[in-house]
Subunit: 337 residues, 2 copies
DNA sequence: GTGAAAGCGCTAACAG
DNA sequence: CTGTTAGCGCTTTCAC
């Protein structure tokens, strides 16, 4: 194995000079830098990762903890993982893959052994057991998603307030005057300051601004609950022509329920979903939707983490702007109605 | 940070004894082992990964290089990645994630810096630019899939010969007497000793054994080619009641072509596919199929790699037995025909 | 069965 | 702008 002393000898300088040339931590004359680079190339030198980590207390590896078994919507996960790895590489870091199942022990292990310099934790739940640990671990971390208690944690996710607004704007521009948001089950709203609440706030505010009449209705998952919710909605708001669904498990059942009630989509009812593109594309009627921008989330997460690693200040919350993709489920309101 | 000397002092032994207690590389009296374990727990000691890697020239990390963008069949990839990570952990190893795009440079980098002890390389092509490198890298590696020239490389994949046989056996048991294999495009067969050839061999041998009449037909991808192949097949083999398709891109077009020709599946024609479960499940008629056993491939790949890391001897080729899942596309041959 | 001590290859003061 | 030197925390001979 060729080591830094070999390079130093070959270039006629001291090992530290080679080290500095590599790290850029002090200025080197053009001439010696040149010779060093040539020697490195000539000898095929590569710094030993372990030695470097030991001496510098920096491994240049970040951990990515993600759910690897969740049967659902892997394309989003994959896209995310790809962008994390790619972006990490541009910052000269590698990515260690941890499964969600490793949980807190996994985080403690990679942090405690100094295997990694920082953590990216996906799929953070409102009430996530890992968040207290992340606060005390002493390693920089970035969470994908917002826990109920996000103070002191760096979190990133889609901007759900803006998402609610964007959905309403889309419907308003199509001429709809009476709209509803079908959101998460009641307990999610009750539970605290989750994304559910933010979507609803954005939705309601925008509806007011556009002078539309609006309703927000929670919805339990499952066929029966969906049927009931849809019926109630159509009964209580006879003028309803547009709905926004922000409830992935209830989405399919709700669509069925509407169609069962004789509402054709988009002829009688325009539907906007907040869900992965994958799902929206493959629905019976392809759904106009706002998706989680996985690739951008991954990139930004890495950038935030890198900033923290270089003791940069980063915002606690990063909210990414929604992008609404128009598909077949929304249409102009029929003026004759 | 608590280090090995702290543990040693706390336990009243020397650092080397703690090290040996941890590694099990020499016998320790029950009593001191006990004390050491208690001290470790009491102090919350975790060995520094970098220091350990430097001193032992073992990082206890393996690299997994996989395609992270291939829009196609991520569930298989994910399942595979999950099983690799999980199995690696049971061998006290972590997994560094590399994208396919990093290619040879990526492998050279993680090997050259001693970041990893071994490599698992997915999605190996018949003519894969990485294989010559893997031969000379001096790090143990395991390939998923067989390159044309596999000598001296440890490869693992589905047993395609047995797969061809299993498909025929299934059709034979349903009473079919005249079957065809629709395989890869001609150039794949011409190119060498790929899986295509093995499936065909197994298919033909089994058909003979069962006294069935059989044909093997290559098939180009694309609508037009599929139509043509299907037509030709039905024209030349009027008695055909069963086909095996081992050609993922052509699968959809072929099914359409058969149906366009008035063949109902499975009433007139039984179809067995060699493709991911995902694809088989979501076809218009759910397809009886043989899939790549992703989880098992991942587990075995890690086991092979671990064996190589401990200078164990491992077979060059590991072939996993096929499992045929029966779905709606195969039925008993109509006796009245 | 246990200890002492010499590195593993690199970085980062400190010194000029 | 460059060199000297002292570790980083662990493993592993070698010695008892």
């Amino acid at each position: 194995m060729v080591k830094i002393t070999d390079v130093a000898r070959h270039a006629g300088v001291s090992p530290s000079t080679v080290s500095y040339a590599l790290s850029g931590n002090r200025s080197i004359s053009q001439a010696t830098r040149q010779r060093i680079e040539e020697s490195i190339k000539a000898l095929g030198y590569r710094p030993h990762a372990g030695a470097r980590a030991l001496a510098s207390s920096r491994s240049n590896v970040v951990a990515l903890m993600m759910p690897l078994r969740s049967g659902i919507h892997m394309p989003v996960q994959m896209q995310f993982a790809a962008s994390v790895v790619t972006m990490a590489r541009t910052h000269d870091h590698d990515v260690l893959l941890l499964t969600q199942e490793e949980g807190e022990d996994g985080l403690r292990r990679v942090a405690g052994t100094a295997l990694v310099d920082g953590l990216i934790v996906m799929d953070v739940q409102l009430d996530d057991a890992r968040t207290p640990l992340l606060r005390t671990l002493g390693l920089p971390s970035v969470l994908i998603g917002f826990p109920a208690e996000a103070d002191g944690l760096t979190c990133i996710d889609l901007d759900f307030t803006a998402t609610g607004e964007a959905c309403v704007r889309h419907l308003a521009q199509l001429g709809h005057r009476c709209v509803a948001l079908l959101g998460s089950p009641p307990e999610v709203y009750a539970r605290g300051t989750g994304f559910a609440r933010r979507t609803a706030a954005g939705f309601t505010a925008a509806a007011h601004r556009y002078g539309m009449s609006s309703t927000v209705l929670p919805c339990e998952p499952g066929r029966a609950a969906a049927r009931e919710t849809a019926d109630r909605l159509l009964r209580e708001l006879p003028g309803l022509t547009g709905v926004v669904v922000h409830n992935e498990p209830a989405l399919g059942p709700l669509l069925e329920a509407f169609q069962h009630s004789g509402m054709r989509i988009p002829d009688d009812l325009s539907v906007v979903a907040v869900c992965p593109d994958e799902l929206a594309e493959n629905a019976a009627v392809p759904l106009s939707s706002v998706a989680i921008p996985a690739a951008e989330v991954g990139e930004r997460a890495v950038e935030l983490l890198m900033a923290k690693l270089n003791d940069g200040e980063v915002p606690d919350a990063t909210l990414l702007p929604p992008r609404l993709t128009r598909r077949a489920s929304t249409a102009p309101r029929d003026a004759s109605e």
